[in-house]
Amino acid sequence: MTDMALKIENLKAEVEGKEILKGIDLTINSGEIHALMGPNGAGKSTLGEVLIGHPNYKITGGKILINGRDMTNATPEERARAGLFLAFQNPISISGVKISTFLRMAYNNLYPDEKMPLKEFFNMVKTVMKDVDMDESFISRSINDGFSGGERKRFEVLQMVILKPKIVILDEIDSGLDVDALKLVSAEIKKMHDQKVGFLIITHYQRILKDIIPEFVHVLKDGRIVMNGDNKVSDRIEDEGYDWIKE
């Protein structure tokens, strides 16, 4: 797989006139695992959503570069097609839209030249469903419709595996998952990491970081990255919380 980098330069964004991101610099290369930590309200989820181009946020400064290409103003689908993927913290439900149709359409959009036969595609989906412990029957259900918190998270992971992104942002992927499910999810992340996928793991607690050791840890506070370090930082946050980190 080709190397890819997500580069964020002095990124500023606001929602309804309120500035949430106040100048973020961050670079994630293929095969790297970054953890983004920070107290509630620091702007962690905002960063994830701004990166995939959620129209609720207005970018007021800075740049988002994917493989050197300026994608600051690109649409969400353009970013997805460039290889970016966000596993949402609270995946929304869309009634009546069948998972099978949705996945197929998404895949065909991302890989228009592949023309994978239908059967093969659904066999692949079913295999991944097993890996993330989702029952096959989910394939004909509507997107997140009536799903439990854990099921929603597993469906995010399922999409991540099937859509083969190059840079993945996981927003609180561990919340709502029990220990066994978390293990399955971590295994999938490791598999993708082996294939040089770059990760930004957004987490409030350190739960998932026990299985997935990040090489880089960034602490976000009030819209700014106030500390960059390695897993020693996350270990200390585990013990002491965020108070020791000065802005």
């Binding site: 929304i92 949705f102 895949y107 959009n109």
Partner: protein
Amino acid sequence: MEDYNKDEEIEKLTESLKHNKKSDFEFHDTINPVYSTGTGLNRKTVEEISDIKHEPDWMRRSRLKALDIFLSKPMPTWGPDLSGINFDELTYYSKPGETKAKNWDDVPDKIKETFNKLGIPQMEQKYLAGSVAQYDSEGVYGSLRKEWEDKGVIFTDLDTAVQEHPDLVKDYYCRAIPPSDNKFAALNGAVWSGGSFLYVPKNVTIDMPLQTYFRMNGEQSGQFEHTIVVADEGAKVHYIEGCLPEDELISQGDKFVPINELLTDDSVVSNTGNQRKITRKYVHPYSGLMYKITPLSPGNAFRATSEHPVLSIKKEDVTSRIRDGHYEISTKKLMEAIPEYRRMDELSEGDFIVYVSPVETEDDASIDDDMLKILGLYTAEGSISFNKSLNLYQMSFSFSFAEKEEKIAYELYNIIKAKGEQANIFKADKKYYTVSTYSKTLIDFCLNNAGKYADKKAFSEKIMKLPPEKQKLLIDYYLKGDGNVYIKKGKSKMIRAGTASKVLALQLQEMLSRNNTFASIMIRKASDDVILGRNIKRKEQYIVEYTENMKFSRVRHKDNYYYVPIKKMEAEVYDDIVYNMEVETDDSYLVKGFAVHNCTAPKYNTSSLHTAIVEIYARKNSDVKYTSVQNWSDSVYNLPVKRAWVDENAHMDWVTGELGSKVTMIYPSSYLRGRGASTSNLQITLATKDTFKDAGGKALHLAPDTTSRIVSKSISLDNGLTAYRGLVRMNEGAKRAKSHVQCDALLINSDSKNYTYPYDEIYEPTAEFSHEATVGKIGTDELTYLRSRGLSEDEASSMIVLGFMDDIMKEIPMEFAVEMNRLVKLEMSKMGAVG
């Protein structure tokens, strides 16, 4: 095949969707009515209508009484603005022809043409137990299958019923909906004309739907049909108002020929072989069976969804002498048979499908015989290369060293020379003759009209339109290069030509078909092969094969149709996106005569009025389903009054789809009069720009153990306005009555609006009543979620809308669901940005 570029595809799709096809069926016929009451409404108009219909006195009196009520009632002001209706300017009655036909052939040509455009005769033959067609005020055609007639079923237009079954009509006419009910019921009572009368006797079950078609043609006219459906005790019937859109023929690109290139990414090559442009293309999810038809000519195999109509002839209909379980196709019967559209899943092996040979030609005098000979040989044997040292393009033709080919090589050389162009001929390796030329004129001509690479060679549109004689010459020379000839017994000659280009094979087939020959296309998998002493590593080959002077053929030829038997039918479960398309050129000759659309009124700037009455009497233990889908043009005020009396243990199903019109007010009602009576009322409404759809339903529980369910889904686009207005009344004594109302509204744009006016009058303490209502927007979050997985904005929003309708779509007839899907996507894509 070109690499399939999704972005481009979607872009094209969106672009092409902007060209709304609607204008195609908003045609306006020039029919001069034989009689019209002129504009305006007064006592004289009503008397005139009654006179011309030679009505009995009771009906005449009833009309006049209704007129008085109409004039005395004020316009309702509680709903949509109706000030656009000018009662003085409307024409209340116009009669298109003198007599009503029972046989389709007797319908006046102009009107027949109109209904043909809507696909009615074909539909009737196929799907319906009977039908009545109405044009402006009068029924123009009525029919009922004999088997139902024999059982005592009456199905005719109401005018005829008044004459022929006066007592029966009198029993039911205006009982459920008396003129005093409301202003528009009174208007209908005064000026009604046409509409259907259906009576189903005790315990008769009609298992095919009965249908009425309407078309409003006169400008500023009103259509005031009055329909009465009576299901006697224990009877069962499904009545459809509107027309089944055989529209799939259009929307899925199904004119016969391009039906073949239906669906899915890999089958986009037009089987006509022409470089026909795809003028419309869109995507929708499909789950169900996908069929593959392989005709005698395997290269023409195609896939289509199970409900997809295919022009065909059933073998049973053209068989004679069944002996020892064997049947034999009677050529005579086959020649007499008229191909019909049948669902894909009704076809089986041995049935005939129709290969259509294009009839239009357009000669190009600049392409003379010599040019055609050169082009034929080029297509078979030619190649173009760049000579670097000379900085020139060179076209060369290689012929193997056989006596016959030597002759051709020299012929070609001489032709080029005679044209005054440069040419060389030489023998190489003692094996090949090579003829070459640097002539720019000839190179350009060949490149433009036949393409460059062997597996992509295809003739240009210009060539495909040449007269058949010219094409024959082209083929003759093509075959001199690529063909094999096998002389069979006697005079019959079998001719084969192989090509790596599928398009070319189909084009050759098409050209041969215009020369009275049906060629089969065989597929040979990629392999090593030896052809005339040459070792050739072959890609997949398409072998065009036919026999000249054949005594007997399994393919029969009639005019420009070839009836080709089906060799194999296969079906597989399919759950995926299907791609629908329309092909430019084919529209012109294959659409003709086939259903184009739902009952769409012609487009006018001034308003028309549709005020129908539908009275349904579901007697004890009966079961009635009434489906209506309207797609009136957006100048029509659609104000029908629909009501059912539901007796003991009877069931009434209303299914309503409101797509068109400027203003609609529709509230199908069920009066649950007997113990255990039940009703279900499903409704879907769509309000596009500048339209107001006020819809809902009423359920009146007048007896114990009655149940009702009302489900209403509405979609507002642009500044469209939808309203739910419903009444559930549970009288004291309606013990254990149950009712559930669900109304969901979806607002697509910030200007879209929805209002909900539920009226609940519950007087019975043991009754259960629940009401759920939701108003949703296509939220940014939902859109962003889908888009973040790669879907375009258009794809994402139509997916959400279709998802919203999903649960009700399952309950409406497939054909309507498809139409609804199509309209929604069309409207969505016209909107551009959503949000």
